[in-house]
Each structure stands twice: as C-alpha cells, then as structure tokens.
C-alpha cells in the first residue's frame, strides 16, 4: 500500500540497461491498480456525509489516500511511458521485425503499439519517398564489405541478383546491406 509496490515496478524497469526492457510485469501492474481501488474505497468512506471544508482527522486521512492514488498513477504512467519509448527505439535500432526474445517481453497491447508505430513511420517515409532508417551513422563509403552469417539465398539487389550463401563475402552498397546487418544475418567485414 501507499505506492510501495508501484515503486518496485519502476525499480525493475530502471535496473535494466539502457535500451533494454524487462518482461512486462502484468501481475504487479494489476496489484497496483487494485491498491488504487482500495485507497478509493477508504477515501469514499472517510468523506461520506462530511463537510469537505472542515479540516478534521477524516479530512487528512482522506487526503493521504488521495495522494496515494495520484502517486500510483504517476508511477504506472511513467512505467508505460518509458516502455513505449524503448519500443519506439526498437523500430530504429532493430528494424521492422522483432526477434523472439524481445517479443516475449512485450504484452499484447505493446506489440500492437509497435505495429502501429511501424505503420506510421512507413507511411511517412512513403510520402517522403525516402528510407530514414538506413544510414543512422553517416557513412564514409557508399560500398561496404560484408560477410554473410546465416544462409539467406538468392536476393535481387538493384539490377543484379546475388546469391548470399553462408560465410560468403560480398561487396555491396551500404543501403542494401544495412537491413541484413541490423537483423544479425550479416556482419561488416573489417580488415
């Protein structure tokens, strides 16, 4: 009670590394909401039939319950907000498809949020006719040497097809290679 559990939720979130998320703690979240309902019940019983202006013991008691509800709300809002920020960053750092380990950490509405966010970004990029998610770091060279880590197969890049078999080396345009590198299927080959 009195927002201790909500603070634990936030502790869990802040102890994770920057850009990472712990699994969505639905149980604790629901417990905090039940605590708010309890505070609300206590509040109702204290202000029933009372004149709101008189500052007696009931007034201060109900005020404390009111503050607890506001505090719980702030904790839960911050929890959702921080997770939403990290989910947005996944689109830019990881890509359109999330690996299994990350998907397991999100609850259903967060997965929907990710899909909707990708949709918004895609329609914006379509309007601009520009892919904003490549070249996040300004490149020195338009071409890049890559080594293929897992079997991808035949891919057509530009005007010719390339066969991307495992452990093969290629000299590709940076924009083409970036999507594969961010999914972990290729790595940049540095001499």
């Amino acid at each position: 009670m009195y927002a201790r559990r909500a603070a634990q939720l936030l502790q869990e979130l802040s102890s994770c590394e920057e850009g990472q998320l712990p699994p969505y703690n639905g149980d604790k979240f629901d417990q905090v909401i039940r605590e708010c309902e309890e505070h609300s019940r206590q509040f109702q019983s204290l202000i029933r039939d009372k004149d709101i202006e008189t500052k007696n013991e009931d007034h201060y008691g109900s005020f404390i319950h009111h503050l607890s509800i506001i505090r719980n709300k702030r904790c839960l809002m911050a929890y959702m907000y921080k997770r939403a920020e990290v989910i947005q960053s996944y689109r830019w750092n990881v890509g359109r498809v999330l690996p299994r380990e990350i998907q397991d950490k999100l609850n259903f509405s967060e997965q929907e949020y990710f899909k909707d966010y990708c949709g918004v970004i895609d329609s914006y990029m379509k309007d601009l006719d520009l892919d904003l998610t490549v070249d996040m770091v300004p490149p020195k060279d338009p071409y890049i040497r890559v080594r293929v880590l897992s079997e991808i197969g035949e891919v057509s890049l530009g005007d010719h097809a390339v066969s991307l078999t495992k452990d093969s080396f290629h000299f590709l345009r940076r924009t083409d290679a970036e999507t594969f590198i961010s999914q972990g299927l290729m790595e940049e080959f540095v001499e």
Binding site: S14, Q42, Y60, I64, C75
Partner: protein
Amino acid sequence: MPGYYDISDILMEDEAVSVVFHVGANGVGLLDPGTETNSVEKGAKIDLPFWLAHELCRRRAVSITIPSCFGQKMKKDVQADAACVDLGTRYPYFYEFGCKLFPLVGDKSIGPFLRHTFANRYKEMLSKSHTASLNAIPKFVLRLSKEEYQLFEAARSSMVEFKKWRVRDLGLMKTTIVGHKRKTDLH
C-alpha cells in the same frame, strides 16, 4: 526541473523521512506500525516516503525532521574527507533530495553544505574519471551518488571517443617510430 515521467525523480521521492504529525489522521493506520486503531495520532513520529511528507508539510499537517544524511555526523565526515564518504550505497540521491528538502525544513545550512560536499568530491572524481581504466569499474565509483555517476560516465565516454579519434584511420601510412639512441657523454 525533472518531468512527470522522470523515473529517477520518482524513485528519489520514495526516500523515507521522519515526520511529526501536527494533526490526527483517520483511516491510515497502515502508515504507523505501532498503532492499534486505524488512525495516526497527533504528535506521532512516523517514517513517511518523501512524496507524502512533502505534500503534508506544504499543508502544515506535519513537520519534517532533518534526516541523518544532513546531520552533524555527516557534516563531520565530509569535513574529514569528502571524497571518502560513501554516497553510492547510503544516499544515492543525496543532492537531489537535499535540493527538494531544503525549502521545507528550517535549516539554512543545507544549501551551502551540499555545495561544499560536491565541490570537494568533484576534484578527485574529475581526475579519476579521466584516467580510470575502461574495462574495470574502479572501487570509488560505488561511492558516487547518482548525479555524480552521470558525470563520471560522461567523462569516461568522452575519453573513449578521444582515444578512438587519436587512432583513427586517416588512410595515411603509419610511420614506424625510430628510437634515438642518445649517447650521453658522461666522462
């Protein structure tokens, strides 16, 4: 000012402070572990989280006692050697907490005390953060408060960037450094 969604501000406000109630409060017996009725008596001394104490103090329902982190013993420790005081484990939100507590409590010495502590610790922290090894976490980092740790990280990452810049590949040929054998004539 920290925002509504700022997680470290929310966690900082969870710190416990000891308060004395000027009024009674019904229906909140859980706050006081020693009470039998479901209420807090006037004059009771209880530990409350700062977010609650702050609001009640503003409405003059309680008064906040200065916590030990700004008390006499702490002041003596800082006088002796500020850099050795362990803020990381005992009071990670030392500075932020002090800044928020200062207007609520009548003690005017907290402000200068915070500044004095920070200034003394800063010198040592600055030199150590620029020379610290990048792989191991030096022991003194565990003694830093959250705010000091952010400064430490900033210094460390700027050193990393500097080192990367120094050895960057300019596409020039690297020369081998030929050592000069100086013949010192001692005779």
